[in-house]
């Protein structure tokens, strides 16, 4: 098996691992899972898919579009050369070796298996802090939508702080 094929296979493993990542409980500007899935799908040579499972084609701008962009202003879209260089730097084509991609898989699976959380167990002293024992429980309940704050519990928090 050639090494590039090995990299692709490992990247597929990584994508599978990322799929098991929990979804963000509340939507953020960027989602770790989605961004990294897209990144490693490209490495694995898999097509990128949207929510419904349809593949998204990476559409490149046509020649006419590029011409119109360049002609519109002196600098394309008013961007300076520096800025363009920066954008190009940002979307680098990543080159993984077998070694580096194996490391990525190992690191991600360590994170997903809660290795350090279990090893450095802090116990109920910090998970149910004495000063505010239900702090984390309330936070998670609110995020999951299990228990909604009503007016009175909200006022209680405002007045007493917990």
């Amino acid at each position: 098996m050639s090494s590039s094929q090995a990299v692709k296979d490992t990247a597929k493993k990584l994508v599978n691992l990322l799929e098991k990542c929990p979804k963000d409980r509340i939507p953020h500007l960027v989602s770790f899972k989605d961004v990294q899935m897209a990144r490693f799908r490209r490495v694995a040579g898999l097509p990128n898919v949207d929510d419904k499972g349809k593949s998204i084609k990476e559409r490149k701008p046509s020649l006419d579009e590029i011409k119109s962009i360049i002609n519109r202003t002196s600098g394309p879209l008013g961007l300076s050369k520096e800025m363009l260089a920066k954008i190009q730097n940002k979307v680098v084509d990543e080159k993984f070796t077998e070694e580096s991609i194996n490391e990525q898989v190992r690191a991600l699976s360590t994170i997903m298996s809660n290795k350090f959380r279990n090893y450095y167990d802090v116990g109920d002293k910090l998970y149910k802090p004495a000063g505010n024992p239900y702090y984390y429980q309330r936070l998670i309940d609110a995020v999951d939508g299990k228990k909604k704050e009503n007016f009175f519990t909200a006022m209680r928090t405002v007045i007493f702080g917990k």
């Binding site: 953020h28 990144r39 990525q104 690191a107 994170i111 350090f116 910090l126 004495a130 000063g131 702090y135």
Partner: protein
């Protein structure tokens, strides 16, 4: 003067004594990683260094480097915070008299010098960098090993990560005191940032500085919420929060760097969880440097550590010579 007098004069003595050693919880001085360099996943720093990905920092052209201002804001704003300052004896005696007569709650009073000054200082130091000065050891971990951009807002992110770890411990103190400690730490953070914006980042307009401060406030709230959520659930969520905040959501993140930060966070929290309220509230904590592995305590060591702490503070509380300002009602057994 007894050895344990470190809260009598407000700060100078405290800062000196605060550079303590960890005894048990910090049995890191084992030679594991000096002897065995092959097993490169021992400390967070080695873990981050072991990556072969060679990713580059996102912001290569430093757009807004932190310049060393001529009037650089020192870590200590006032003379009372300087390690060289000593309170005149008569002031000290007067202070003790006031505390005794009005029965001041020293646990409350101490929040200022401990959380506002000392704990803010150690949080600030972690990521502090100036363009034309060599990086400190911990700053090297963040800027060179984790390849974060050397900017002011990155420094802020590193600082709030450390502040959050202290918040987690502060929540475990009695509510009244823990809340006060948190408040003092946040207050000091923003007053310091305001000064730094004007003096070091050369922001001339008060309106713009206010906008930055509001922005930093939003970042702080968002980050604390995300870290809390991750702390209460699982490492995958916590890593996502770290990626979004500390790493600014960069696309080509090196997973090893994330893993290294997870190790860093959990080892700090472990050390924090082994400290009693009394020790923590009197400023007996400092962050474990990233180049160091935190060894877990065996149950026996843990017991010994506890017994030692209890014996120490029992003696301190019984001793009639203990000054009113050194007394505390916080528990030393938990």
């Amino acid at each position: 003067m007894s050895i344990n007098r470190f809260t009598s004069s407000p700060l100078p003595a405290l800062l000196k004594k605060a550079s303590f050693s960890y005894r048990g919880a910090y049995l890191h001085q084992t030679n594991v990683f000096t002897q065995n360099k092959g097993a490169a996943s021992d400390s967070p720093e080695l873990l981050a260094k072991s990556s072969h990905l060679n990713s580059k920092p996102l912001d290569i052209s430093k757009k807004a480097p932190v310049k060393t201002a001529q009037n650089k804001i020192p870590l200590a704003h006032s003379k009372y915070e300087s390690s060289k300052y000593e309170l005149p004896k008569w002031k000290e005696a007067l202070g003790e008299l006031v505390i005794r007569t009005f029965r001041l709650d020293m646990d409350r009073v101490r929040a200022g010098p401990v959380a506002g000054s000392y704990y803010y200082k150690i949080c600030k130091e972690q990521g502090l960098q100036y363009e034309d000065e060599p990086l400190s050891e911990t700053a090297k971990y963040f800027y060179e090993d984790l390849k974060l951009p050397r900017t002011f807002s990155q420094w802020f992110q590193i600082t709030i990560l450390h502040e959050w770890m202290l918040f987690v411990r502060m929540r475990a103190m009695p509510f009244k005191y823990g809340r006060n400690y948190q408040q003092k730490l946040v207050d000091r953070t923003f007053s310091d940032i305001e000064l730094r914006l004007f003096e070091e980042m050369k922001v001339n307009s008060g309106r713009i500085a206010d906008q930055y401060l509001k922005d930093f406030n939003t970042q702080l709230r968002g980050a604390i919420f995300a870290y809390d959520e991750g702390f209460a659930t699982d490492d995958a969520t916590l890593a996502t929060a770290v990626w979004r905040n500390l790493f600014g959501g960069r696309k080509n993140i090196d997973m090893l760097h994330l893993e290294s930060v997870m190790r860093y966070i959990h080892s700090q929290l472990y050390v924090l969880s082994r400290l009693s309220d009394r020790e923590f509230s009197t400023g007996k904590f400092k962050f474990v440097p990233p180049g160091v592995k935190v060894e877990k305590l065996t149950p026996k060591q843990e017991e010994e550590l506890k017994a030692k702490t209890v014996a120490k503070y029992k003696a301190l509380d019984k001793d009639p010579r203990t000054l009113p300002s050194e007394r505390s009602k916080l528990s030393y057994t938990n």
